[in-house]
Point group: C2
DNA sequence: TTAACTTTTCCCCATTGGGGAAATAAGAAA
DNA sequence: TTTCTTATTTCCCCAATGGGGAAAAGTTAA
């Protein structure tokens, strides 16, 4: 049934206890109502059109389709629905895969009800709720290595190279000759101890020089 | 003077009023003490070794060196110091430039004292304080376009291509022939309406297909 | 069976990327 | 100043790459 003026929350969580706890909690918050509660993504997706959730609380480790694949599918079917991941995993693969899949938030399972409620509220206000460690991981993924062995020009050129540009177009972009680009790239290779574009880009990405 | 057991906060903000407000506030919080307060980065950097701040509250729009360049320099000189940007700017160039420069947090200037204090606390606990809009921007930067015209294999290949791999190495990575890679890339080009690697990568990045 | 895709294979060739090395310029040291 | 060292530019060389075209082989659907 559609309850007007309440935010419809859907729960996808295979652990019976956790699922029930979440669901009960949601139904006890005046502003919220439980749009549905599932133990796997497949069933949730089947009923998405009826449940019409505004927000989905999604586990990652699920039988069948995992929460990351599920998030992709759900965002394709219903782009306006926000998916908030609630999981015990704090490893970067899961975090970034979930965010790429379209998750709006990422919470770890140790949160209390108060935090959950404010996360939902934040989501409704257009925010992206994250637990502290996750926020830090996300921010860290932007921080460049402060002690790169490459100078500014070299970094610039390698960045362009990593964007798939040819020597020729790099030359045109930074107003130097193609040979000069080549010169810098040779220098970059010797600094990074590599001898091809591929390796240079790999090292630079890994070390966050670019 | 070094006050033990208090967290040393440094303020870099060129607006006299804002600077004073922040500085006074910090000195009124029992746990915190003002390590220094400057109107530009140059002076702050000059005294960094004496001030020894644990956290720097940094404006972006500053006379001389801006807060982003300043953050880079400071993180190079004192990597353990956390820089929290406090600014009116919410545009993505500034946000991502600041984060790449090494900022640990990014707050917009409308925060109240309570929020500032909890942001500092969060930073001390190893977190990354962000205001709501910023968190959303950061998360959005990961979200891939859900309706890419490319299928999974094409996306995979284009991703590898964008990482600087040659047809040959893509072929080896995904266990197909080089000609098959070529076939897919031709298809990608026709879907994206381009006719070179460079353009394809540009379009794919812009549209967040990869 | 035939028509219509999709995938694989092959040919062709200008451009590219990378190595080597000489010529030139610029800085630093004596 | 001259000299030595380092940085930059230029050029040669050539295998490999990237991209177009198109035929051949495989698949699917009527």
């Amino acid at each position: 049934m559609i309850t007007p003026n309440k935010t419809r929350i859907l729960v996808i969580e295979d652990n019976q206890t956790v699922n029930e706890t979440l669901s009960e909690y949601i139904n006890n918050v005046p502003k919220l109502c439980l749009a549905g509660s599932y133990f796997n993504c497949e069933d949730a997706i089947k009923n998405l059109k009826n449940d019409l959730p505004r927000i989905i609380l999604m586990d990652i480790d699920l039988p069948g389709m995992d929460g990351i694949e599920g998030t992709k599918k759900i965002k394709k079917l219903s782009p306006k629905t926000d998916v908030i991941i609630i999981t015990v995993f704090e490893n970067s693969e899961n975090v970034f895969a979930a965010l790429c899949a379209g998750a709006t938030g990422y919470l770890t399972k140790n949160i209390d009800n108060q935090e959950l409620e404010s996360s939902i509220e934040e989501c409704l206000q257009g925010g992206a709720p994250m637990s502290m460690k996750i926020a830090k991981m996300v921010i860290n993924s932007f921080n460049k290595n402060q002690k790169s062995p490459l100078n500014e020009r070299e970094t610039e050129i390698l960045t362009l190279l990593a964007q798939g540009k040819s020597y020729q177009s790099i030359a045109e972009l930074i107003f130097v000759s193609k040979d000069n680009v080549k010169y810098h790239i040779k220098k970059i290779y010797s600094i990074l101890q590599v001898d091809s574009k591929e390796e240079a880009i790999e090292v630079a990405n890994k070390q966050k020089y670019i």
